[in-house]
Amino acid sequence: MADTSEAPRLTFRSYKSDYKPVWCPGCGDFSVLNSILKALTELQVKPEDTAIISGIGCSSRIPAYTSVYGFHGVHGRALALASGLKLARPDLTVLATGGDGDGFSIGGNHFMHACRRNVDMTYIVMDNQVYGMTKGQASPTTAPEWEGSKLTPQGTGINPFQPLAIALAAGANFIGRGFAADQNGVAKLITEGVRHPGFSFIQVLSPCVTFRPEQRDWRDIVRPAPVEPTSNLSTAGKRLMGDDGFNTGVLFIGNRPSYVAESGGGTDLAEIEKSFAL
């Protein structure tokens, strides 16, 4: 993260762009956008030293609504793009954002390997248990009995993906869950995630009011996790394997050092070329 000590204090508006989101009125992603902007304000990173990388989906539209650098990539590849950026430019603050389809279905492999690789960046998934952008198909986190998609008219019949348990098993260094409507809570999670070294993963339950209107009821179900964050893998494993998906807060804090690409420098190319001489 770049040093920002001498700069004048940046405000919420410094991080916001003037584009009007394409989202449906009431979409949870509006709140998540606000939380990201609040977190950046709290972090006081310079917009030009910050980048938000996303894939494809309603939620993946977020970069354009901020005033930092952004990359709206292709479906499922946000974490690979973000990893490349952070590895090549370790001085930047890098966030990745996207949806449950983007991150856990087509992007599932990068998710696991990003957790494992532990590059110092923060990944925020707006989980609405549906493919919003393509008009309402089941995602990996969709409950097996949900019959709202024409592709799976009898429900998927498949156990939902457990992002936090996978993140833990894969080696993420910071794992949290928030609820979109709790903008300050989510902002705090993001702030902590960015400050924590290594790969931070934050699942935000973010209702899709159009294809999953029943998700409005989430506000009655979510609760702060009744236990303190742990840094013990076995304890966290036990907890997250039994989790019902509605405990919010920081759920695991690891202490692995961030991965940094090998890069010594200082050698002249001509020196290197000598190895080819007869």
Binding site: V74, G84, A88, I272, F276
Partner: protein, 576 residues
């Protein structure tokens, strides 16, 4: 392509044997020894299906000047034993002019060998080796071959020292003894026209593979970030780059797959660091979706694609030019981009470096095509000259107001801002966008951006590097990539018959250089297209983009066998 040498003064030697027989080591030493004697040469290795061990072969060609390719036939074949030799025999053209050296005790000479009419010299290889403690027949062979082709003892000694020095004096001594014993054995046999002329050679020469050349080209061009996934035969590009990138302050990351590696490279490039990945056919196929992202978001990135036999997993260890189609046409949507091809082992450096330069200058993704036969061939070459091509991206001027990342400019290139630059923040996007980068589905924005992305390539001056052009005449060979060497040699063979043939080898496959091509074939009446594919991909590519003369012949041959100069020459001869 290297200096135009006349290739009559080359020697071709095939070494074969079962796993552990050490024919590859012997071959390498032979090349090294020839180099010590002031000569040039190359070695291609071929192996059986086993992961380790199993039979293998080394194909060596030596010459007094640079050698770019294997020749028509082998002057000498040296067989330690006959294990599975039929697996290799199609790769080892022999004739009655060839000499086959084998072990007198290795059993009957296989029919496939005797059928060629080659002279057979059955010598006591194992027996001679056994006379020395730790002695091995491959070193006996090295001695025989060095003697036959006239490489002096000091040159061989130097090599033994370089290669075996570390292994201690015992290994050195036994190898030296075997070599000398080999020289003795060689007294009883002879082969015409294989004496290499030792040279006083002051040029700084390198021993290097095409894959290493490509890696070095990337480094010289300014690449400082590489993400990749291992795949045969591209892995050595990465293996060379990994430690050496770190030395110059760059880095290489092994990604989880090719989808990740191309995206990581795009991410690095978005961060302002010239970035690259290397792969082969299957991996290239996986990269194509995101190649389109680099293209639409105008983020430069280079893919080195080392071609192997296809389709699908195909023949991973053998060469073919059949990824031409995917490299030129394999993207969805209208996708103007850069595709280049290296014309020789040495040219892997030039072409890669140039391509990095082009990608950065045009903010456009690029594919460099090389192939297994260029990439995995180790050659003795003159040290390549330094080139002016370095990555230089047009970036946003400081203090720009109201920055538009995708501004519609006359050249089509829009100054790019790099994270860290104040006032330059923007969102790179693979959705169609307006000049500011905002997604749009308006016809006008779409055609503006399509035009601009095309214009970058149409108006850029690629200079003379688009092709290698040699000679003149009403007959022309048009070819590309690793067929260039054999085609050039065919031209020389034709010249000996009195036929002048112009050689045009395309280095720039996309964008097509229509005017330059038409200019180059002015006066050409007969055109022979030479390529290593089954479906004439190059010929169809040429038809699509260029007006060809009426009289066109196509010589296409799929992998895994290399295109031999003589076969190309046949085509020229049989024309009329």
């Amino acid at each position: 392509m290297t200096k135009n040498n006349t290739l009559t003064d080359t020697v071709s030697i095939a070494l074969t044997g079962s796993g552990g027989a050490g024919v590859v080591t012997a071959g390498q030493m032979l090349v090294q020894a020839a180099a010590n004697a002031g000569c040039y040469g190359l070695m291609v290795r071929s192996s059986g299906p086993q992961i380790r061990g199993g039979e293998s072969a080394a194909y060596v060609r030596l010459g007094s000047d640079q050698v770019d390719n294997l020749g028509d036939a082998f002057d000498i074949m040296f067989a330690v034993d006959w294990l599975n030799v039929e697996r290799f025999i199609a790769e080892i053209p022999l004739s009655e002019n060839s000499l086959v050296i084998c072990d007198a005790e290795a059993g009957d000479v296989p029919d496939v060998i005797t059928a060629t009419g080659a002279k057979i010299a059955a010598l006591p290889l194992q027996k001679t080796a056994a006379e020395t403690k730790g002695g091995r027949p491959n070193m006996v062979g090295l001695g025989i071959l060095a003697a036959l082709i006239g490489i002096a003892d000091e040159a061989v000694e130097g090599t033994l020292e370089k290669v075996l020095g570390r292994k201690g004096s015992e290994a050195m001594a036994s190898s030296r003894d075997c070599v000398h014993a080999g020289r003795e054995l060689a007294r009883d046999i002879s082969q015409d026209g294989v004496t290499l002329q030792a040279q006083d050679n002051d040029a700084e020469r390198w021993t290097i593979t095409g894959n290493e050349m490509a890696g070095l080209g990337a480094l010289r061009g300014g690449v400082r970030f590489v993400a990749a996934y291992p795949i045969t035969p591209a892995t050595e590009v990465l293996e060379w780059l990994a430690p050496n990138l770190a030395k110059v302050g760059g880095s290489l990351v092994q990604a989880e797959d090719e989808l990740a590696s191309i995206n990581m490279a795009i991410g690095g490039s978005f961060g302002g660091i010239p970035s690259l990945t290397a792969t082969s056919g299957p991996g290239l196929a996986l990269m194509m979706e995101s190649f389109g992202l680099a293209l639409a978001s105008e983020t430069p990135v280079v893919i080195i694609n080392v071609m192997r036999g296809g389709p699908s997993t195909g023949i991973p260890t053998k060469s073919e030019q059949s990824d031409l189609n995917i490299a030129v046409y394999g993207m969805h949507g209208d996708a103007p981009h850069i595709t280049t091809a290296a014309t020789s082992v040495s040219d892997c450096l030039f072409t890669t470096q140039w391509t990095v330069h082009l990608a950065e200058a045009l903010q456009c993704p690029a594919i460099v095509l090389t192939d297994q036969s260029l990439g995995q061939t180790r050659a003795i070459v003159n040290k390549p000259a330094d080139l002016a091509f370095i990555a230089k991206r047009e970036t946003m001027a400081e203090g720009t107001e109201n920055y538009r990342r995708y501004a519609v400019t006359a050249s089509g290139v829009s100054p790019m801002s790099i994270p860290g630059m104040a006032d330059g923040t923007y969102v790179a996007d693979g959705l169609e966008h307006n000049p500011r980068g905002t997604p749009t589905s308006q016809a006008e924005d779409h055609s503006d951006q399509l035009d601009k992305r095309q214009r970058k390539l149409d108006t850029y001056d690629f200079g003379d590097h688009w092709a290698e052009i040699l000679g003149d005449g009403e007959t022309a060979i048009v070819t590309w990539g690793s067929c260039t060497g054999p085609a050039r040699e065919a031209c020389e063979q034709a010249a000996a018959d009195g036929l002048d043939v112009k050689l045009i080898s395309l280095r720039l496959l996309a964008p097509a250089q229509t005017d330059r091509f038409q200019e180059a074939i002015k006066g050409v009446k007969r055109m022979l297209v030479v390529e290593q594919t089954h479906s004439q991909q190059f010929y169809k590519y040429l038809r699509a983009h260029y007006d060809l003369p009426d009289d066109v012949k196509v010589f296409n041959q799929p992998g895994p066998l290399p295109v031999r100069p003589g076969l190309v020459h046949e085509q020229l001869k049989s024309w009329s």
